[in-house]
């Protein structure tokens, strides 16, 4: 049974009204308009973002270029500072490596016995430093060795052995800055010179001086 056979509907399709409170003939254009506005806003936002990104990229590039030169300058300065620091360090090394022998030398005269005539008192030059090792283009700022050892050579004339021994004994205390206990008698022999008709003896004693340290 189909009720459609009995449905004699006099209402035309074009006269049918929608019972929905949302009317498509209004909502569709409004929806389309809103969609268009939404798209425009979206495109606007997109365009603005692109422009902003481009501007940002440009400014970053400019900033980077500026910073590159500044960076190079900074690196140069850092290198210079490092170099200067090294130089200062070396100077500090030299400063701490200064040998103060003025005071012991001033006292030295007091301990020299009467029968001793000093002919020579010399400090041997240190071993030359290799400041330009092979393969290095720039010479080194400081010594390659941190410890430098020198010798104090005392040569003189005396009448007999006792004064010299006395001198050596005197040097054992209070002259630590000048000499160490390590010594070597290089010579002790008859000299040609005479005083009061007596033949004089020449002597040469070599003292090892305290180590000169190039360190902080």
């Amino acid at each position: 049974m189909k009720a459609s056979s009995f449905h004699l509907n006099l209402l035309k399709q074009s006269e049918t009204l929608s019972s929905s409170p949302v009317r498509l003939r209004i909502m569709l254009p409004v929806g389309a308009l809103l969609a268009c506005i939404g798209l425009l806003v979206w495109w606007g936002v997109l365009f603005t973002q692109i422009v902003l990104t481009k501007t940002q990229a440009h400014s970053i590039e400019e900033d980077l270029a500026t910073k590159n030169s500044a960076h190079a300058e900074a690196i140069q300065k850092r290198d210079l500072a490092r170099e200067l620091k090294l130089q200062l360090e070396q100077l500090e090394y030299y400063k701490s490596g200064v040998r103060s022998i003025g005071e012991p030398l001033a006292k030295f005269a007091e301990i020299v016995p009467l029968r001793v005539q000093l002919k020579e008192m010399s400090i041997t030059p240190p071993m030359p430093q290799v400041l330009m090792p092979p393969g290095l283009k720039v010479p080194l700022f400081g010594p390659t060795e941190n410890v430098e050892t020198q010798k104090l050579v005392i040569a003189g004339l005396t009448t007999k052995e006792t004064p010299v021994v006395s001198l050596m004994e005197s040097l054992e205390t209070g002259f630590e800055k000048l000499v160490t206990s390590e010594r070597k008698i290089n010579s002790f022999k008859q000299d040609n010179a005479e005083i009061d008709g007596r033949k004089l003896l020449s002597f040469e004693v070599e003292y090892t001086m305290p180590e000169r340290r190039f360190a902080k």
Binding site: M1, K2, E15, T16, L24
Partner: protein, 398 residues
Amino acid sequence: MKLQLTKDKTIEIKFPSGGAKSVRDITGIELFATGETECPAIRLVYKKKAWHIAASGFAKAPNGDLPMRWEDTPHQPVWEMPHEFTSPHAALAVNSPMATFAQSTADAVVQDMMTGLAAQDEKSTAGDKSQPDGKRRFGIKREQPALPAKKPSAQQENPTRKPPFPGAGTPVSENGRRFVVRPMAEANFHLCASLPEFQTLWLSRLLPEGKRPTASSIQVAESALMASILLQPEFIAADGNALAIFMRPEATYLAGYKKGEPVLWRRCPGVGGVLAMRDAVRNTLGLDEELVDSVLNESLIDPRPALEPFVRPILSQLSLSLDYLTSKHGLKFDHAFLMGVGAGTSHWSTYAEESLHLKLVSPNPFDGLELDKGVDAGDASRHLVALGAAIAGAEVTA
């Protein structure tokens, strides 16, 4: 889906399952029923694989009468339904003196379309000369000079023009009337309903857009009446073969169905309706109106002397229809439906069995439908047209 782009332009998008078949919630409303101050309404809802009556009652009548002239149509009332009837769709069944519903041949339909409103105008005027001028002047008033000029009808322009026969179920406007036809189970016969164009337009705009419900179907009351028994269990059990008597307040109709398709529709000539029957009982037995129902339903007083003269002519017509359906269509019936009588159906059945050996059954019109909570089936016979309008409007398939 129908999309109204502007007030005049509409496009329709058809989906595979679209159209009236997809209607699952509809309110059937009978308008301008004789003897009713309000409008019987029924809300029909398809849920849980069954049709339910979700609401049944009466809606306040629209603020205004059905227009009887083109000039009255500008007074368009806005009608809003009570909350319980706010379904998406509404099927309006209208009782109009200018409506027609008949079983016709194609030629007769075309002839009616050619005649259009003019014939109805003449017929109505001739048939009711006692009415004042304003009431008698139906249809297009072509000769009234004070009115704005109207487009002359097609018949006046070209009197010999023969309108094409309309497609089944497609409403067409011709000569100031709106026509719709459906083929019957008998070859060359059609059911044809028509209303004046201005009444159709007035009805189409009665329920406002954007508020539930809006009109999805406008039917004449007789058409809706014919569809009202389609969901009756006995009708379905008889495989759609049925004979029915429909009592209306002012007329009585006979309807025949063959395999669920219409095969016969005729008005009993010379017989009134329920009002005439009640008048006969009241006048013959000297009763007050309030007592008529109890006399017809109870056996205390025998209403036979009053009822029989009224029923006999109807049974004679029923006999003719029965013979026609038996001889022409091979249909045999042991019972017929008697719908819309209200009271006294047992007497009708007795008379029918005596004269025709035919039992008359008067089922509750709501039989075959699920009733939702709060729906009263006691007043169902007054909702027969509204129910039929809803069933037809939803294009129910049983």
